[in-house]
């Protein structure tokens, strides 16, 4: 009799999330396929991106699209396409690289979400400055992160996959210390 072995993929925050402390909830977010889109020198990719996936190529510090299909500015001359499998036609204009297993993706939501991040992130994330559709490549604690506002009280946070446990630890510690003040 042949032995059968079943392997089940686990997500970066498997066993760590969700977590609710005070007014804030931290959940893992499955963004689907993640692809970095780096336009070839001098090539515009916005029309192709719009035609294939319905969102414009975002300007620096901005994200376009919506839940399920988002384009997040991800650094100099680079955007992260989160959700759909990239249309092969995009490959005529940009270098496409699969990043699906490389990132930890979490959503921090709740009334104090901004105050929690203010303890960890050296960027002004107040709603008047950092509006819906704004994104930043910055640091969260000592980790390089991508932070995008997805709602009035919610942020999408990405760090390298290897840092999942540290990300959860740092965020939950900040959530707890903030909740302790209420």
């Amino acid at each position: 009799m042949a032995n059968t072995l079943t392997l089940t993929a686990t997500s970066p925050c498997y066993g760590l999330l969700p977590k609710t402390v005070g007014t804030c909830t931290l959940t893992e977010t499955d963004l689907g396929t993640l692809t970095s889109v780096a336009p070839f020198k001098g090539r515009a990719v916005s029309d192709a991106l719009k035609g294939a996936h319905g969102m414009a190529f975002p300007a620096p510090n901005r994200a376009t699209g919506k839940d399920g299909a988002r384009a997040i500015w991800f650094g100099r001359d680079m955007v992260l396409l989160a959700g759909p499998v990239p249309d092969p036609g995009l490959g005529d204009h940009a270098a496409l690289t699969d990043q699906s297993d490389a990132w930890t993706c979490v959503t921090l939501s709740g009334e104090d979400a901004g105050a929690v991040l203010a303890r960890l992130v050296p960027v002004d994330l107040r709603p008047a400055i950092f509006k819906q559709g704004h994104t930043a490549r910055t640091q969260l604690g000592h980790m390089n992160a991508s932070i995008t506002r997805t709602g009035p009280d919610s942020f999408l946070i990405l760090v390298f996959r290897s840092m999942a446990a540290t990300l959860v630890h740092d965020l939950v510690t900040a959530m707890e210390s903030l909740a302790a003040r209420h």
Binding site: N61, G75, R76, P122, V123, A136, R137, T138, Q139
Partner: protein, 87 residues
């Protein structure tokens, strides 16, 4: 200290890494004489005043910048992308 990244906007110093004097952008020709290479590799002006410095925005957009900074007052007078700097 905050540095004005031309791509990301003004950001905290901890997002950046100092990469040395912007002299590094003025690389001698491969066949330049030993004095030119000695000058390029080892010799730096260190006068008080405005300095051109290279900083990389490691935790941000990743771009290398040429930052003008006054070493007496520590005032940051501007920054531009290294790719667009005068050579």
């Amino acid at each position: 200290m905050r540095l004005p990244c031309p791509i990301c906007g003004e950001r905290d110093r901890r997002e950046f890494y100092y990469q040395g004097a912007a002299v590094a952008l003025n690389r001698p020709a491969p066949d330049a004489d030993a004095d030119a290479w000695q000058d390029f590799v080892y010799l730096r002006e260190n006068l008080p005043g405005d300095h051109q410095e290279l900083w990389s925005h490691d935790a941000g957009c990743g771009a290398w910048l040429v930052v003008t900074r006054n070493t007496v007052t520590h005032a940051v007078l501007g920054a531009k992308l290294a790719s667009e700097a005068d050579r």
